[in-house]
Amino acid sequence: MTKRQRIVVVGHGMVGHRFAQAAVERGLTETHDVVIFGEEPRAAYDRVGLTSWFGQGSEALSLLPGGEYDDPRVRLVIDSVVTEIDRVARTVTVVSPPSAVGDLLAHPGAVTVHDYDVLVLATGAAPFVPPVEGRGRSGCFVYRTIEDLEAIQAASASATSGIVIGGGLLGLEAANALVQLGLDTHVVEMAPRLMPVQLDGAAGSTLVRHVEKLGVSVHTGVLTEEIEGGDAVTGLRVRQAGTEEGAPTTTIEAQVVVFSAGIRPRDALARECDLETAPRGGVLVDEQCRTADPHVFAIGECAAPGGTMYGLVAPGYAMAEVVVDALLDGPGTFTGADMSTKLKLLGVDVASFGDAFATTEGALELTYADAVSGVYKKLVVSEDGRRLLGGILVGDASAYGILRPMVSSGLALPDNPEQLILPASSGAPMGMPDEAQVCSCNDVTKADILHAVAEQGCESVADVKQCTRAGTTCGSCVPTVKNLVEEHFASLGKVVDKGLCEHFRLTRQELFDVVAVHGYRRFDDIVEAHGTGRGCDICKPAIASILASQTSTHILEPATAELQDTNDKYLGNIQRNGTYSVVPRIPGGEITPDKLIVIGEVARDYGLYTKITGGQRIDLFGARIDQLPAIWRRLVDAGFESGHAYGKSLRTVKSCVGSTWCRYGVQDSVGLAIALELRYRGLRSPHKLKGGVSGCARECAEARGKDFGVIATEKGWNLYVGGNGGANPAHARLLAGDLDTATLVAYLDRFLMYYVRTADRLQRTSTWIEHLEGGLDRVREVVVDDSLGLGAELEAEMARHVGSYEDEWRATLEDPSKLERFVTFVNAPGTPDPTIEFTTERGQIQPIAPALIPVGAPA
């Protein structure tokens, strides 16, 4: 065996993270250890989406929420700066402050030296601060990291007005941030228009009108003279571009100034160890992103493949993949990138792609402008009008998904290319060649997507996203992916049938609404009005669940008893030999010794097999159908109630011991878990529901593995949603942070009811969120921002559920007509089922598998 090689990655931004992901996915970690040094105090996060930090906090942006990789051969050390590279000894010197974690760094504040076999520079870029007089005054900021945003937020608390210097992409993002912070916001741009690199004059002025409508004052064609003030900023003095020095100036008052005048590659480490850099900055690398030193690579914004630096994330990702490929002896190369851009800036769609400025010889421009609605579209076509070369879209970029691939594929234009940008252009969407790249962030072609739906069993956009990664970075191609998926199924003559089963063409959500609108209470009425036949094992339990969610009547009432799946029908979980298991509720996993003894006595007296479940309760197995009432009588008399282990309903809310006992706990997790379990017990839902509450960030309750997870913070609770274990594990994601208990409960009420209303049958919360248009952001809009105005209604529905809750087993024991079904043989009540037999193993019963009737030989 050859010795394992060590890769040291300098920098844990988006590109460094992508490198690590690709190294794990492509098996590079089988032969290489990866150590990443990141200088920020947290793991990589979505810098492209930085402005959403104001609404959602750091955690929602994180690309590695747990702070470590699942693959133990990849180690991340944050808060650590690489200060020196020794290419002869092949070592890096790392300085870590006392707060750094990681066993590599035994001594706080230590300077350590680490060997490498391969060094990957992913140090990114730094904001460029032009040499304006007064730029050192307090109140001046850049816009690059979460720390920058925290500082801007703190300064804005006492400010009324802010200025962004730079009217490019990032500048407008920064302006958006200042608007969100409630500042009177100005944007100052030296060029005569906004986004001068991507937009022409007409597009720029269309954008200005949009931006000004949002209350941002735009000053284009002005030069910054001086940042005025004493220690602190008081304003920015500017003069018109083109005027002589000493010409009259004006001052814009502001207490906050944000520089966003471009970025510069951070290539100092490379220069200091005599690696060549490009004239305009960036570590010079070849098509495999390798420097002149074969052991050193550079990727992302710090690199300059062929002398050009790329300031977008997609080319950085491509470089990361190329280096992983090179280390696996693959043929991949990076030969330039599509610099097309589509963004939503301050709520305005802006896209620029291909030869947007018609620099190709003979290129012609077709434009469409609607000043009233603020839409500007331009196509750049070849001289013969047959090929699309590029374009600009402002105000409505919906055609981007069709147009950009046409540029890269060279597809022939239709006879009337203006149709492509006229509003509501009729007819079918333009055909796209198979090799057209649909997702530029992850290099996914139309052929890849069609392969996923035709060969790999993908049935939805969500499946395709998971399978191909298309649409998972910037999301701008998702509408195109959706069209492709729908077109594919339509071409097979297959309407993507979301109907529940052969008896109902409606989806579960549609059925839910139909039942609510008409006030149906009986399956017969529903199937007569909206379905065919007499139902089946799919639609009947689904409708039973909908009726239970809406009416809170006992599930074994005559109208619904026969709709229930066998587990609900007998209020127990059927096991392989036809016996049932019994699970009393133990809220939050907290139980008194007396109650534990009762469970033990009942199990002993009925000869049941006992096992502790993963949900912090006790499962009693092997009860015959005719034994269930007597067993439950004992349990109910001792103060137990149904645990709903048999239902598509709330199971448990798992907890750690919390601040009452644990020396690390910051909140009472057990108390909250019990309150939540008692609040949502009995709630019938599209699939089973599990919750968890952890008393501190150590997360001992594994709350993020649950449909809803709550983790205590110093200030309150963080609420995570959409987690589960099982075959397709999902980590719950942050919905809202630092909530007080009342707000937490209100959000949970809304979240759960929204899920109960709109999810498909047997769809866990994770897949439901994934399939919702807008995903988690949509959930947040509805639950937190109350964008649909549904909040009060959802809370009222939950209040009704909570108010009408009754223990299903107690109610069953009190109603002789409901007990009638708990009999093995209707004509021989005392006779046990002869097929049920047990043996003993480790001191407890185990079922003997019933003899199977040989298939093909009817008895």
């Binding site: 007499r534 026969e562 066998t566 059927i574 093995t824 209707v826 199977l852």
Partner: protein
């Protein structure tokens, strides 16, 4: 013709839920008796051939196309109530029994010849 004298009395017909089933002991064998929405009564062997468990009476009664079926509570395969034929697997079937309602009482006879 069905010989009533040789049949086993099971229960009052109302004791079989509409679109539901009950299990009965007939000559030592477990038999599932079902009643459809239209009130027709059928009897099949109670043992689910896919699991070996005696549970078919606890399945959901409904239709597949025009065929009245019960789906096994264990792994959900559907069986034709009229014949015992498994709708999802032509190689599998369960016995079907003669059944009648006499004076409001369900009576079950012997297994029919396989169809």
């Amino acid at each position: 013709m069905i010989e009533l004298a040789a049949m086993t009395t099971v229960c009052a017909v109302e004791a079989v839920p509409l679109e539901g089933g009950v299990a009965a002991l007939v000559d030592g064998e477990a038999v599932a008796v079902f009643r459809t929405h239209a009130g027709e009564v059928f009897a099949l062997g109670n043992v689910d051939p896919f699991s070996g468990a005696s549970v078919l009476s606890r399945g959901i009664v409904g239709t597949r196309g025009d065929v009245p079926v019960v789906s096994s509570p264990m792994y959900k395969q559907a069986f034709d109530l009229r014949t015992g034929q498994c709708v999802d697997d032509p190689a599998v079937s369960v016995p079907s029994y003669d059944v009648a309602v006499v004076d409001g009482v369900v009576v079950v006879g012997s297994p029919r010849e396989a169809a």
